[in-house]
């Protein structure tokens, strides 16, 4: 078995069957099918897009999926106010224009937006801190959906709590829209270090119980993660990636793939840059190819970065604390 299926006691309540016949042998929305979708994204680049034109550029550049949102994270910062899910019309237009999977963001805890996105038929929903959180107490209970979810995390405890809620994929939060990769690096290192520590405790029940209290996660998922030596779902990098070298850096740190938000479409060489980031993600461990990919972009055309220490809005701090 190559996909971890723990915890699964919540899944059983939500196996929908295809067609009207209850004898139909099809089971949709199972943990295997939801996590399996995320596994198909591995080693790929998922690009933020706001319209059909950008989605087509992303697909032609070799993006593995596109993430639809109303404004790129950089523009969310500029605009201020409340950031909500994208227009239904825009999501539909993009679904009708490209063949790769379509993901879309909803606000944290916003059941209404998530239901709408599932009903339109997006392939994955990102319950994202880039949008203004709708619930400061709880994230969505994602086991109730047929469509898989991705959630952000800045440490192991957050990642495990989101997986317990039924998410099928984790990404680092990073600090979106800044063009600064430092926070994403910090987050993936924090998760990896904690998993390494767990690995040494596999047979120590007493210590695992203590760790599960520290991480505010169930003992079951802590034990599972310790046994696997990695998260039970795929783990992508996100937040501030803007050059091929950034993508290669995060892949070298052990990420399964990358999300690029403002980095492509806030640059002045979007199409070239999108291709270059895909190439660097694929061949991250081959310095000659990473160099070739970095040659495809011009630093003078990169998006202007923001210092993550003096931001008016720290997106990674938003939403429920547990």
């Amino acid at each position: 078995m190559t996909i971890s299926l723990v915890p699964s006691e919540f899944e059983q309540k939500n196996i929908h069957r295809r067609g009207s016949s209850s004898r139909s042998p099809f089971a949709v929305g199972t943990t295997l099918v939801k996590r399996g979708f995320a596994h198909m994204q591995k080693h790929g680049v998922i690009m933020d897009v706001t319209n059909v034109e950008q989605a087509q550029i992303a697909e032609d550049a070799g993006a593995v999926a596109v993430m639809v949102l109303d404004k790129l994270p950089f523009d969310v910062r500029l605009a201020g106010g409340v950031a909500r899910t994208a227009s239904v019309k825009v999501v539909q237009e993009i679904m009708d224009a490209v063949t790769i999977p379509i993901m879309a963001k909803c606000r944290i805890g916003h059941l209404g937006e998530a239901q709408i996105l599932e009903e339109i038929g997006v392939d994955m929903i990102d319950e994202s801190e880039v949008l203004t959180p709708a619930d400061e107490e709880s994230h969505l209970w994602k086991w109730d959906f047929t469509v898989p979810f991705v959630n952000g995390a800045k440490n192991l405890g957050e990642a495990l709590r989101r997986i317990e809620e039924g998410c099928s994929m984790i990404r680092t939060k990073g600090e979106p829209g800044t063009g600064n990769v430092a926070e994403a690096v910090a987050h993936i290192k924090a998760v990896n270090n904690d998993i390494r520590r767990l690995g040494s405790l596999v047979d120590d029940a007493q210590e695992l119980i203590k760790v599960s209290r520290q991480l505010q996660s169930s003992l079951q998922i802590v034990e599972e993660t310790a046994r696997l030596g990695k998260l039970p779902v795929v783990n992508f990098a996100a937040g501030g990636i803007s050059t091929p070298a950034d993508a290669a850096l995060l892949m070298n740190l052990g990420c399964d793939g990358v999300f690029v938000g403002s980095g492509v479409f806030k640059s002045d060489d979007a199409s070239q840059r999108a291709q270059a980031i895909v190439l660097a993600t694929t061949y991250f461990d081959d310095p000659a190819t990473v160099l070739e990919s970095q040659r495809m972009v011009d630093e003078r055309k990169s998006m202007v970065g923001l210092d993550t220490q003096n931001l008016a809005l720290r997106m990674q701090e938003r939403g429920p604390s547990v």
Binding site: M1, T2, I3, R18, P25, F26, A27, V28, G29, T30, L32, V33, G36, F37, H39, M40, Q41, K42, H43, G44, E59, A61, G62, A63, V64, A65, M95, D96, A97, V98, T99, I100, P101, E118, G121, V122, D123, M124, T146, V147, P148, V278, L279, T282, Y283, D286
Partner: protein, 224 residues
């Protein structure tokens, strides 16, 4: 010891590469063979392989590689034309086909290997919320049902002469065999059943033996 030169490659561009590597390793274990699994990323990685897996993922991304690393795809095409056993799952099946079109969008501009004489309809069962798992009868794999995991899966909408249909789902063709090529619309690497990978290793082992005989290497004499 006889199997130390039995190497199965897994195309390592995008998709569930590690899942195929580990499923192949369990298949070697089931057969009691000591083979090697190699992730294929450059054209030089093809030499010495006895079998190859084209994993699941997004077929457009792997097609896109043609513009970056054309040599690797040529080497794969040469090896498969030369009789090397290959297993293509989902995106792998699309890459092997002669023509692919999307259920909603229609004809796609992606490059294909055109080694397997089938036409493929991409995303034929619908989007991710329609993705499913279901038990299937696949006589090539024995009596026990095989659990197919279909993720935004394609179907074979047309199979030319010489292509054997090995599995159907709701009257739609979802697995085929053409000489040394086996292709599935579902993901045998994701479940706990490794029979497709066992089948590939057996074919690869036969292929390796035939090549060795042709080269005059023959079998290693066993010590009395």
């Amino acid at each position: 010891m006889r199997d130390k030169d039995l190497i199965i490659g897994v195309l390592g561009i995008q998709g569930d590469i590690e899942e195929n590597v580990s499923q192949t390793a369990t298949a070697f274990h089931s057969l009691g063979k000591k083979g090697e699994v190699r992730v294929v990323r450059h054209s030089k990685d093809i030499s010495g392989l006895s079998g190859l897996i084209l994993p699941g993922g997004e077929s457009t991304v792997v097609s896109n590689l043609a513009t970056v690393n054309e040599d690797l795809l040529h080497k794969i095409a040469d090896a498969v034309s030369g009789g090397m056993p290959v297993l293509g799952t989902c995106a792998g099946m699309i890459i092997l086909s002669t023509r692919a079109y999307d259920r909603v969008i229609g004809q796609t501009k992606q490059k294909l290997l055109s080694l397997l004489n089938i036409v493929v309809e991409r995303n034929a069962f619908g989007r991710q919320k329609d993705s499913f798992e279901a038990d299937m009868e696949i006589s090539l794999m024995g009596k026990r049902p095989f659990k197919g995991i279909f993720i935004r899966a394609p179907i074979v909408s047309k199979a030319e002469a010489g292509v054997q249909v090995i599995a159907k789902m709701e009257d739609k063709v979802v697995a085929v065999k053409q000489d040394n090529i086996v292709a599935t619309a579902f993901h045998p690497e994701l479940g706990s059943d490794n029979r497709f990978h066992v089948h590939l290793i057996k074919s690869a082992s036969d292929f390796r033996d035939r090549i060795n005989v042709m080269r005059g290497v023959g079998f290693e004499p066993t010590n009395p």
